[in-house]
């Protein structure tokens, strides 16, 4: 390990972008700006921005609270209010934050929503979550029902169904909430900018195919997807951010450097992994350290597809504005069926030359966790590489047992190392 890492300009830029966004949110009501609460998977950021509405993402606030060690307190508050221990920890963290004054991750109060925009993409809990918020805020809800993508393909009927709802349900409600008329040309401009930023993000994520990988596509990846999966897609700021990020990754690649970690860049890449599932946020650094201490680099992850999936060539398309928004919602990771997820992970294991894959299963997140053990077996069968399975939680600090997780990871890494000389002896690639 090299000495402590200097923050790269893109990290500083992202922090400034977020601070600026939360400042705008804090002063939104005073300026008369409208606020829309929405979720990350299959988000409709460009559509919201075309109405000058400011998005708030409750699950991002929850994970930020987790990283700032506030989630335990918020969850306790929600449990006092009657929410069960087994409910999704994101929901309880958000409800708890709300009950404690709705102060956001930057210390500024979040504005109340003018609209709850629910892009329903495979997570039933999201619907219940917004029911709870609707009770609290007494504001309108726009519900976009996105059909589950069974069979790994989007049919014309599915697309048409979503487009129709955008036209008849979502856009009219955005118009009513913001007092503005829908402007298709503006949406097209935003989508064109999205596409440019998306190209750079995809390049960055695919740089994990190099050996050594210049990025960590899980612990670093969650930062990389930040602007594009939240409030910034379709903005010049996002284009600038991703250009900057790509330049940095290109530099690391040219110099043969590994990913940056909180303790410097990884000099010796020992293990290449694909990771399925969200990270644990309450012990994010500690969890990450368990990987980089062993020289383990995540070369691809499914969590970086949680907002939307770009592989296969999808980009937001100004020529097909509502259709491409529909495709984005339909294609997001949580809306994919198990065989498609298995295909994706197995493909990543091969294409990114991974030594194995790890599933971080979240007990309170059924939309991710259901079927993961079955997925593990199938991916192992197809790739011939072993998977590891650990269980943690999103933001409930009570469900992260560091010594257990460390034991499993160490065992897994040693298992991979143990298999190597034999693989060489058998004539396989080292």
């Amino acid at each position: 390990m090299k000495p402590a890492a200097v923050k790269e300009p893109s990290m500083v830029r992202q922090k400034e972008m977020l601070a600026d966004h939360f400042k705008k949110l804090a002063t939104a009501k005073a300026r008369g700006d409208k606020v829309v609460y929405t979720f990350v998977p299959g988000n409709l950021t460009e559509l919201m921005l075309s109405f000058d509405a400011l998005p708030v993402h409750p699950e991002i606030n929850a994970l930020q609270s987790g990283m700032r060690k506030l989630s335990g307190e918020y969850i306790a508050e929600a449990e006092r209010a009657g929410h069960s221990e087994d409910v999704c920890a994101y929901v309880k963290c958000d409800i708890g934050m709300l009950l404690k004054g709705n102060v956001g991750p930057t210390g500024e109060k979040l504005p109340e929503p003018d609209l709850l925009l629910l892009s329903y993409t495979g997570c039933f809990t999201f619907m219940k979550w917004f029911e709870l918020l609707r009770e609290r805020y007494r504001c309108p809800v726009a519900m976009l029902h996105v059909p589950y993508q069974e069979g790994g393909r989007i049919t014309p009927e599915m697309r048409a169904y979503v487009v129709k709802q955008l036209e008849t349900e979502v856009i009219p409600k955005l118009e009513r909430a913001t007092g503005k008329s829908f402007d298709l040309d503006r949406l097209r401009e935003l989508l064109a900018r999205s596409s440019r930023a998306e190209d750079d993000l995809v390049w960055v994520l695919e740089s994990g195919k190099n050996r050594p990988s210049p990025i960590d596509a899980y612990f670093g990846g969650v930062y990389y997807i930040g602007p594009l999966f939240t409030a910034f897609r379709g903005t010049e700021a996002a284009i600038d951010y991703y250009r900057l990020l790509r330049g940095e990754v290109e530099g690391r690649l040219a110099r043969g450097e590994g990913p940056i970690t909180p303790e410097g860049s990884i000099d010796a890449e020992r293990f290449r992994l694909v990771v399925e599932g969200p990270p644990n946020w309450t012990h994010f650094r500690e969890f990450w350290k368990m990987f980089y201490d062993e020289g383990a680099v995540v070369v691809a992850s499914t969590y970086t597809k949680v907002g939307g999936v770009y592989e296969g060539g999808f980009r937001h398309d100004p020529a097909r504005p509502l259709e491409s928004l529909a495709d984005y919602c339909l294609g997001c990771y949580t809306n994919l069926d198990l065989p498609t997820r298995v295909d994706m992970i197995a493909r990543h294991v091969e294409e990114y030359s991974a030594d194995g894959f790890l599933i971080n299963s979240i007990k309170s997140c059924n939309s991710f966790s259901a079927g993961q053990l079955v997925m593990q077996r199938e991916i192992e069968r197809r790739t011939g590489r072993s998977g590891a399975f650990i269980e943690t939680d999103l933001v409930d600090p009570r469900y992260f047992a560091p010594s257990n997780v460390r034991t499993r990871l160490e065992s897994y890494f040693q298992m991979l190392a143990q298999g190597r000389p034999l693989a060489r002896a058998a004539g396989a690639a080292p």
Binding site: L373, R377, E380, S386, G387, F389, I390, E391, Y399, A401, S403, N404, T407, R408, E410, S411, Q414, M415, Q418, G419, P421, L422, A425
Partner: protein, 451 residues
């Protein structure tokens, strides 16, 4: 003589295995992990080295056709004499420590000291019986052996002298920790020599044979043991006093150890103090996949320890009692804390202790079955390792549930199952020394036993 050491620093017990250059097991040592992992590690290691001396002594006796026939009973006598001497020394230390604490008790100090004197006299007198030929094993550890009798004697002696028993028991609680945590003195060899003398004094052989045996013992004791390499594993592995490169995960060690003892092994179940592991290995003993309990230690070995405490039984007594159960009670919860309440409730309802215990054993195996299923299932052959594999009621429940869920499987259980992790660690040490990709060490004769 070169040897290779594996240490498994578990949450409940610490085990050490010493291997020779040919991979044969030379010695094993075990101690309770206590609050000080460093001492536990040192004690287990010393015990294993002493056991190695026994092994060398046994080999030396067997080399002589005349002495071979005496080897088994004589070694048993030496072992018992050794354990007794060791126990007596620890009693001395415990008494001294208790006395120091008692002297600061003010007005009651004289009565307490008098009680202690009487109690330790009784403990010394009883000690010979604990290590007599054919005496049933209650525990491997001084803490358990001395502790249970101390409690009983505190009642009797306290009553006689008007001293509250809890005051005396408090002295034991304060004293046992420093006594346990005192690093072992370097005099185990000396103890071994004394044990040989004691055993010789107790036998009726002619002077010539006695001299021959004494000389053989001396020769075995004189062999220099060179610890070439040590590998550590287990929960406390981070505390082991050697570099990270010499540390292996329990998963790998149990996998390799189980496969080396039973080469047909493909699935391994290890129930340890605070974790249960289901491991799949390939034909070379390499781990292919594994599952462990997560976030909660319900249904692990400590559960049984807790139940034993609740029932005021020794850990070794649980299995035999559960085997007496004719109608096992269905118990679903494996929460260790709830188990105590469930136990009391069911006793109140008039259910038999034997039936409740049988149900508790089945409950922990049911949880292990879930892990096995998650790891991919139970394949032929199936090896059960860890301390709980010595519990016959747990083994019975496992056999039933494996047959129910997977059909007929060969279930292997080594009498030394508790040492599997340490054995695997020692194999890694040997393997590194040999520069082999996978060691195929020979297992000590008599170690293999398909149960």
């Amino acid at each position: 003589m070169k040897c290779f050491v594996g240490i498994d620093l578990g949450s409940t017990t610490t085990k050490t295995v010493v291997l020779g250059e040919d991979g044969a097991v030379l010695g094993r040592g075990i101690t309770n992990s206590r609050s000080n992992y460093d001492v536990a590690c040192a004690v287990a290691r010393s015990e294993a080295l002493v056991d190695t001396r026994f092994h060398l002594f046994q080999n030396a006796l067997r080399e002589s056709p005349d002495l071979d026939s005496h080897a088994a009973w004589f070694l048993d006598a030496v072992r018992r004499a050794f354990r007794l001497e060791q126990h007596q020394r620890l009693l001395d230390e415990l008494e001294e420590t208790c006395r120091v604490h008692a002297e600061s008790l003010g007005a009651v100090a004289p009565s307490v000291l008098a009680c202690l004197a009487g109690m330790f006299e009784d403990l010394r007198e009883e000690a010979a019986g604990l290590f007599a030929s054919g005496a049933p094993a209650r525990s491997d550890f001084f803490r358990d052996l001395a502790g249970s009798r101390f409690t009983a004697l505190a009642e009797a002696h306290g009553k006689r002298r008007g001293v509250r028993p809890d005051l005396l028991i408090g002295l034991y609680d304060k004293s046992i920790i420093p006594v346990e945590n005192r690093p072992p003195e370097g005099d185990l060899q000396d103890l071994l020599g004394k044990a040989v003398e004691t055993a010789l004094d107790g036998c009726t052989m002619s002077e010539r044979w006695r001299d021959e045996i004494a000389w053989t013992a001396q020769r075995a004791a004189g062999i220099s043991l060179v610890e070439v390499r040590t590998v550590g594993t287990g929960y406390g592995r981070a505390r082991l006093p050697f570099p990270k490169e010499q540390i292996r995960s329990e998963i790998l060690c149990h996998g390799l150890g189980a496969h080396a003892v039973f080469p047909g092994t493909r699935t391994v179940l290890d129930i340890g103090g605070q974790d249960t592991k289901a491991i799949q290995v390939d034909e070379r003993g390499l781990v292919k996949s594994f599952q462990m309990n997560d976030r909660c230690a319900a249904g692990c070995g400590r559960y049984l320890g807790y139940i034993a405490d609740e029932m005021n039984l020794g850990l070794h007594e649980l299995g035999p009692m559960a085997m007496q159960g004719k109608h096992p009670v269905r118990i679903n919860s494996t929460c260790t804390v709830f188990a105590g309440a469930e136990l009391r409730d069911r006793l109140t309802m008039g259910q038999k202790r034997e039936d409740i215990l049988a149900g508790l054993h089945r409950a922990i195996i049911l949880r292990a079955m879930s892990l096995l299923a998650r790891s991919g299932g139970v394949f032929e052959q199936f090896t059960f390792t860890g301390g709980v594999a010595r519990n016959e009621a747990a083994v019975r429940a496992l056999r039933e549930l494996v047959a129910e869920n997977y059909g007929e499987r060969t279930i292997n259980i080594s009498p030394d199952s508790i040492y599997t992790g340490a054995f695997g660690a020692a194999l890694f040490a040997l393997r590194e020394e040999r520069g082999e990709e996978l060691a195929q060490p020979r297992v000590a004769p008599g170690e293999e036993e398909a149960a």
